[in-house]
């Protein structure tokens, strides 16, 4: 299995504050990887830098062997990488349906797009709300819509930033299960940033633990779960 996403020695800063300090890891094709760590460990910055929303200081990001480090976000997206930001990033001024349609517009060929029906099958609660403004959705529904919007373009890899934020544990679990299913069925590669380490490790194959902008631990999810030292030091459970 070759690596679909490779991050090599990546750094990024906010002014004088270094948020990422030489982060390296890979995500294999069809992989399901968690990125864990405390608040402020650099998880969100990592995702934003990979996607091109934040400028990388040094290092490289390779997607399927191609260097995407300096590409602006909209160009990275059109290479088949989808990014669901913290809180989902649904556009509340648009309707649910418009949000979904928006996700696939950059695919010029209709055949490369998923159909609305396909995506709605994954998220039944959205069906009745198609014509409503996305601002009227609940937190869980917004998260579904955000993931659904990302899936509309049939991405190769999906980056998710804390989809569990503010959601009931049961809903979180549903979302994690759904992501696993998607991987099995469609071969989608998933990178999941989470503060809820226990839940994330239960769902993913492997994990990367960040601490103060560096990789503190890395390994299979089972191993990380059973490694008491890492758990206590960085994951807080």
């Amino acid at each position: 299995m070759s690596a679909l996403l490779e991050v090599e020695d990546l750094t990024a800063s906010y002014g004088a504050i270094r948020a990422l300090d030489g982060v390296s890891f890979t995500v294999p094709e069809r992989g399901f990887r968690a990125i864990l760590g405390a608040n402020g460990a650099g998880k969100t910055t990592l995702l934003r830098t990979i996607t091109g929303l934040h400028r990388a200081g040094s290092g490289r990001v390779l997607l399927d062997g191609e260097d995407i480090t300096r590409l602006p976000a909209d160009r990275v997206i059109t290479r088949g990488l989808a990014h669901v930001p913290e809180g989902g990033g649904v556009i509340t001024e648009l309707t649910v349906e418009e949000n979904l349609r928006l996700g696939a517009l950059w695919r010029t060929s209709r055949r490369d797009r998923a159909t609305e029906a396909e995506v709605l099958e994954l998220f039944p609660p959205l069906v009745e709300r198609l014509g409503r403004s996305a601002g009227t959705l609940s937190g869980g529904e917004r998260q579904m819509l955000a993931i659904g919007r990302a899936l509309m373009a049939r991405p190769r890899i999906l980056l998710l930033d804390e989809p569990s934020l503010g959601l009931a544990p049961l809903v979180t679990k549903q979302i994690f299960t759904l992501l696993r299913d998607l991987r099995e069925r469609t071969g989608l590669t998933v990178v999941l940033v989470e503060q809820n380490a226990a839940g994330a490790l239960a769902a993913t194959d492997s994990g990367v633990v960040l601490n103060q902008g560096r990789v503190a631990a890395e390994g299979d999810s089972d191993e990380l779960l059973s490694d008491d030292r890492t758990r206590h030091a960085y994951l807080g459970f």
């Binding site: 929303l53 909209d74 990033g89 556009i91 928006l102 517009l105 919007r149």
Partner: protein, 283 residues
């Protein structure tokens, strides 16, 4: 009574023009929170293009099309190469750069064509109650407003433009080329400004011909709410009627100051216009 009907009809016709200008301002304001003080510049370039092309080709309508084309192109280019790199630095700079464009356009037009008034003919007769020219103004602005609504509401381009305006980052994460959408917005805005210029400029054009027209456009946009396209249209018609009555009954020199009073009054009661969506203030 007769006079009142006259004033109402002519007020509606000029109101259509103010509505177009207000709409043009709203398009840009919605996308970037910027009031485009360069708007008269685009109308000016457009109308002088028409005044040059029309006599050369002998056809008003070729001039008309040339005006809209050139106006639109100027708007798009100005956004991409002049406004965008500066406007992102601060709100103050954003205002000032559009003023710079206005100075260049007014001075440039004066340099090439002179400061004195030029007669510029018109496709239709503009004399009398609800003249053909008035009808043309109402119909063309109405058509453009409806077309614009359809583009924004029903086309992929419109969807991307709305997404880019409301949530640039989320739009970018959906693969929308946000910068391109801004340019598209300016192009639309300039197109409407050019149309309004063609309607408001004749029969005599000069470098300052749009100053007062623009004032009413701003008034209409402010009254309607700078982020409400429907408000812009209603505001335009209201301002058109109001100014027509004030000019007719009290004297045209007082109309501008009435507009000022109106703006101040409306904003003091509703700081973001009558029809603006009430938004929570960011702290």
């Amino acid at each position: 009574m007769d006079r009142f009907v006259d004033l109402t009809l002519s007020g509606l016709a000029s109101g259509a023009i103010y509505a177009a200008l207000a709409l043009s301002l709203v398009i840009i304001y919605q996308a970037t929170r910027l009031v485009n003080f360069a708007q008269p510049a685009m109308a000016l370039v457009a109308v002088y293009t028409a005044a040059t092309v029309a006599p050369l080709t002998g056809s008003y309508w070729i001039g008309f099309i040339a005006a809209l084309t050139v106006g639109t192109a100027v708007g798009a280019l100005a956004e991409r190469f002049i406004v965008r790199p500066i406007a992102r630095t601060s709100q103050l700079n954003a205002i000032i750069v559009t003023l710079g464009l206005l100075l260049i356009a007014q001075g440039g037009v004066g340099m090439i064509w002179g400061n004195q008034q030029h007669g510029f003919g018109y496709a239709f007769d503009y004399v009398g109650r609800l003249s053909p020219a008035d009808v043309f103004a109402l119909v063309s602005v109405g058509t453009v407003a409806v077309l614009l609504f359809c583009v924004y509401r029903f086309t992929p381009l419109g969807l991307q433009m709305r997404a880019a305006a409301f949530r640039p980052e989320a739009a970018r994460l959906s693969g929308v080329k946000v910068g391109l959408m801004l340019t598209a917005g300016w192009a639309f805005s300039a197109l409407i400004a050019a149309l309004a210029g063609m309607l408001a400029g004749p029969p005599f054009i000069s470098p300052n011909v749009f100053d007062i027209v623009f004032v009413y456009g701003i008034t209409a946009a402010v009254v309607g709410g700078l982020d409400s396209p429907f408000g812009a249209i209603i505001g335009g018609l209201l301002v058109g009627l109001g100014m027509s009555y004030v000019s007719g009954y009290a004297g045209p020199e007082l109309a501008t100051l009435t507009a000022l009073a109106l703006v101040v009054l409306v904003l003091s009661v509703r700081p973001d216009g009558i029809l603006s969506r009430p938004t929570a203030r960011k702290v």
